[in-house]
Symmetry: C2
Subunit: 638 residues, 2 copies
């Protein structure tokens, strides 16, 4: 078995148009794997602190992984990372689809982009060849037409395109990156970073065949995973209903974010549920490269005010929450239309929805008036207001659009008048559609995530609160006993810390949380075998989880260097206030318990208990001692 | 596959003669595994701090493990643990042989002994039955005759006996426990604890058949291990020369402890080498239960002043060092005789040798004189003095024997006159035969080992300083690059920390460092598979190494509770002074580097950097939050 994993990193300087290729060698690949691991490595080493995230000095990384592109379900995700214009800290976001594998087929594991192009440009990477091409004729186009134009220009229908829409061009701070018009690197505003670099798209195509180092073992696992997916309960539900399947479960549990997180129960939940979608507007089930789960929805509405094209996919659970229950909107068609607009303009639906919820609450409290909203009544429940707002934000329309395009944190600061209490964010990033008052681990997750509030930072703890098959799946982590959802003591911290390592690993391996994670089909130890089979490394869950820990620690160091600290590891005030209705009415995050858990988390991670600065010993242990120079001064401050 | 590992813990109160049996359940077994893990759990939870280690309140644990006794090479070790009379802190020591497996066959995983018998007693455990029997007629006997008498009394030749000799009865603080007269739980004075409890022996016998939960997988691994052992270079050397094979390598490397650690090269090395032993006094190669390595030596000298019976085995490397090069004794027969005496009296050869080295250096410096030594010239090189001293120590002969029987730390305090600088110990336990001036990781190991200087606390780093097959064997730990022996920076700390977890795991699993460890036959990931096959658990290297870490942390908490702290995590002054000859002449441990490495080690373990108190978050992470109460006050002191 060949011992060496060989991969190439493409470097692009958009300012000088210089292109170069690096082969960093096996030890680097084994230490960082790909995705978030590789991206945080490059950002931490090469990005000067304090730069403008939307300036040419920001570094933008697209990274797949050492197993990405292998023909097996659930290994398609790739990372886009840079300093975030939304948070001012570490930005990272993953998407599935087809782009990540195609990057590998094109001959590269990652692309590291610096500088700013003189005019609109896009990258064309194909079979080891790289071109920086003009995007003059693409600039201003929505994602659909832009992708089509690129395929025409390249005369290649099967080219995969990760690109931005008008929102990214207009530097909306939560603009996203989209591939195949529906697979979204949604969070932390990476679309705006592309826009700031005059980079409309990266088109990739390749015929490079990836050979696992141990083909026999690889195919055995691949075959067994295909069978497991067919039998596995949660995968069957995902196939049938997609992520929208959780709308009803969360509503029943009293934690469906509603009315800008005032409530945990939504009267219109059933109308926006996965079941309702399946019965009405669902056109097809779709999936990512090589995946049999097919959890993606494509919806179609052929006529009427909310006519929606299925090429932009369909709303995920997060979108149903953010454009639906959060805003008290129970019109599934309107939500589907909102989702389509967000994908056309390449706007993150979560931040968009929370920004609109913020505006609605301001409006209902008289802080914004019809003078600010061009006469539109920004009341909760108004679907028209939601759709208008999406347009305004994407194009930074003077007034409310431009205001909301900077995210709720900045908007609240500009408005003043106590609007901050309506701004649901952590570190400037808007809250996903999960209410920590019903799952404390989620609260810790939102608070400590280096990217700000993020629902793919670690799993939602209710699924681990029950013994049985789920608990058995996490047992290789040493998590042997259930921890109740509302507990916020040492066991919850332990549970969260270990699972965060796993989630972080998934982001570095490009593994889908639906195909592999503890609640899904492939057992953890089989994932380790899979990595071994693909790379030829005699690796282990220990070594892999340490990559997860390494990545979290690099992101922490990155944020500390940018001035973040404990003050930023917090939750919006609303979550410390009681839920106003439903089965969890009266439940709030206990501030004292939260602070104690935060301190324990810092300590569990080997960070100092006050500000969460990784200790020298922890950096040594993680083979990250090279990063000590970036936080030395922070340590002396304490 | 049955999911539940069922094991039984026998409780014996020697004061009240109460016997009871506990079944602590699967989660406890999976969390602590056995050996050191299980022992430190019971000691930390149940032993009151501050008790006299030789008083009835001390708790004595004999523990095998969840895989011990399975018919496979290298899984025979068991642990004896208690508060140590030598250090006053956590005491733990492992031995191979046949006793551990037989305990499992008898129906128990561990024995937890409290109180003190009214008169000399021994325990007889057979097929789930337990008796406390009189040892009136055994008291005072050497180990050989005592074992024979027990087998006669029980009318059962195949009974396995772990027992003490006169040294334990006489409360020599480094008396050991022996099974089959040659497999030794050597360190930390567990023999004295048995003696203090009037417990001469534990005899075990059983017909309980251990069935692995996944027999097919188990036997596949077992078969493959047998083949690997046959092919594996280091195992072949062990088979041929036993542990004495390293005498010449260490001498060539300049780190064979000589003249009480003044020198690293011994002129007589060849005469006491494994090669010489094989050519002269070696009678047979022997081994432990089910093991094909057969690294044990049995030597025989049929006549003359040093006539030696092979039933007491033969000197290991540590003994050749401690009774040989350390004392500048190059007479292999005299060393073999010394080894036999130590096994007859059940004295730890390492501490015995270092105690004699201390006496010799005191003598050569005029601190001890012929008035103290009954006219014997205690010069380095005097084999007669060595043999006399062993007798005197074992029987606590008034004067020098009684003085040395308390260990070099206490002896030096009693003597005064600067004798402390000749006392080579850490935390009161005498140094094993490895010189940290040629391998810095060993220095860290001696300093931080919870049991005081201990050579089975973590491996000697030179073997990891070279790339190639050895490095590949530790790669599942994420150790991918060589670290030079003399480096004492962050990489060495990382290396040591990870390997210590593995060594600690071995002590909890009862795994022999020669049959499995990174430098030997069974790859790490196969060990994980083996544990899974034996127990039915879907475990991982992550989960298992966390048991290793948990055990180290419990021992740390135990020691902190007893008043230990950073001041005790140090090395004898001599190691900070240069080696006086050989290829490493002039090399010394650099004190500043050592202190920096110590702090980094604390931090890497999640302990506070000043005193090494585990943080609350680390206790939470390791599922040890229950132990917080034992160190809370230490934390407030800092």
């Amino acid at each position: 078995m060949p011992k060496s994993y060989n991969g190439k990193i493409l470097r692009v300087d958009l300012t000088t148009k210089k292109l170069s290729v690096e082969e960093p060698g096996e030890v680097l690949y084994r230490t960082y794997l790909g995705g978030g691991g590789l991206a945080s490595y490059y950002l931490l080493r090469e990005l000067r602190p304090g730069v403008d995230p939307l300036g040419p000095e920001n570094i933008l990384v697209f990274a797949s992984s050492v197993i990405s592109g292998q023909p097996i379900a659930g290994m398609t995700r790739y990372t886009v990372a840079a300093k975030s214009p939304l948070t001012g800290g570490y930005g990272e976001t993953e998407a599935g689809g087809f782009w990540g594998p195609e990057l590998k087929f094109s001959g590269f594991d990652a692309v590291v982009i610096t500088g700013k192009a003189a005019g609109p440009s896009y990258l064309w990477i194909h079979d080891g060849q790289v071109e920086i091409r003009s995007a003059e004729k693409l600039w201003g186009l929505e994602t659909g037409p832009a992708q089509e134009r690129i395929r025409e220009q390249l005369n290649e229908k099967r080219v995969r395109v990760a690109l931005i829409g008008p929102a990214g061009e207009n530097l909306v701070r939560y603009a996203c990156v989209v591939n195949e018009l529906k697979h979204v690197n949604g969070r932390t505003g990476m679309g705006a970073v592309m826009g700031s670099k005059n980079l409309k798209a990266i088109a990739v195509r390749g015929t490079n065949k990836l050979e696992p180092q141990n083909p026999e073992k690889f195919h055995e696992i691949s075959k067994s995973l295909a069978e497991l997916i067919g039998q596995h309960g949660p995968n069957k539900v995902l196939r049938k209903l997609g992520t929208p399947n959780v709308v009803m479960a969360l509503n029943t549990g009293g934690i469906l974010p509603t009315r800008n997180f005032h409530d945990g129960v939504f009267a219109g939940a059933e109308k926006i549920s996965g079941e309702r979608m399946a019965e009405t507007i669902l056109k097809t089930e779709e999936g990512c490269y090589a995946c049999a789960v097919r959890c993606k929805r494509a919806v179609e509405i052929s006529s009427g005010p909310y006519a929606t094209s299925c090429e932009y996919g369909g709303p995920e659970y997060e979108t149903l929450g953010a454009l639906g229950s959060l805003l008290c909107i129970d019109d599934l068609a309107a939500i589907a239309k909102g989702n389509e607009l967000c994908n056309r303009y390449a706007l993150d639906t979560i931040s968009t929805g929370v920004a609109i919820g913020f505006a609605m609450e301001c409006y209902e409290n008289g802080i914004l008036t019809e003078a600010d909203t061009e006469g539109v009544r920004f009341r909760f429940g108004n679907a028209e207001a939601m759709l208008k707002a999406i347009e305004w934000i994407a194009f930074r329309k003077k007034g409310l659009g431009n205001l909301l395009a900077d995210g709720v944190k900045v908007a609240a600061e500009k408005i003043g008048q106590g609007a901050e209490k309506f701004a649901l964010h952590v570190k400037g990033q808007e809250l996903p559609m999960h209410d920590p008052r019903g799952k404390t681990g989620q609260g810790l997750s939102f608070a400590v995530s280096p990217t700000g509030a993020d629902h793919v930072e670690a799993p939602h703890d209710p699924v681990f609160a029950n013994p049985g098959p789920i608990l058995e799946r996490v047992s290789p982590l040493g998590l042997l006993e259930p921890v109740p959802s509302l507990d916020f003591g040492p066991s919850k911290v332990r549970n969260y810390t270990y699972l965060q390592l796993l989630w972080s690993l998934n982001n570095s391996l490009g593994v889908c949380n639906f195909a592999v994670g503890p609640i899904w089909a492939l057992p953890l130890n089989r994932l380790v075998e899979l990595v071994s089979a693909a790379t030829g490394w005699d690796t282990s869950l220990w070594e892999l989880l340490k990559v997860g820990e390494r990545t979290i620690t690099m992101a922490r160091v990155f944020n500390l260097r940018e001035g973040f600290g404990r003050k930023d590891d917090t939750l919006p005030d609303r979550l410390f206030e009681p839920l106003e209705n439903g089965p969890l009415k009266g439940k709030a995050i206990n501030r004292k318990e939260f602070e104690a858990a935060l301190t324990m988390y810092y300590e569990a991670m080997g960070w100092d208990p006050k500000e969460g600065v990784p200790t020298r010993g922890k950096l040594a242990e993680l083979n990250l001692f090279w990063a000590d120079e970036f936080v030395k001064s922070k340590r002396e401050e304490n």
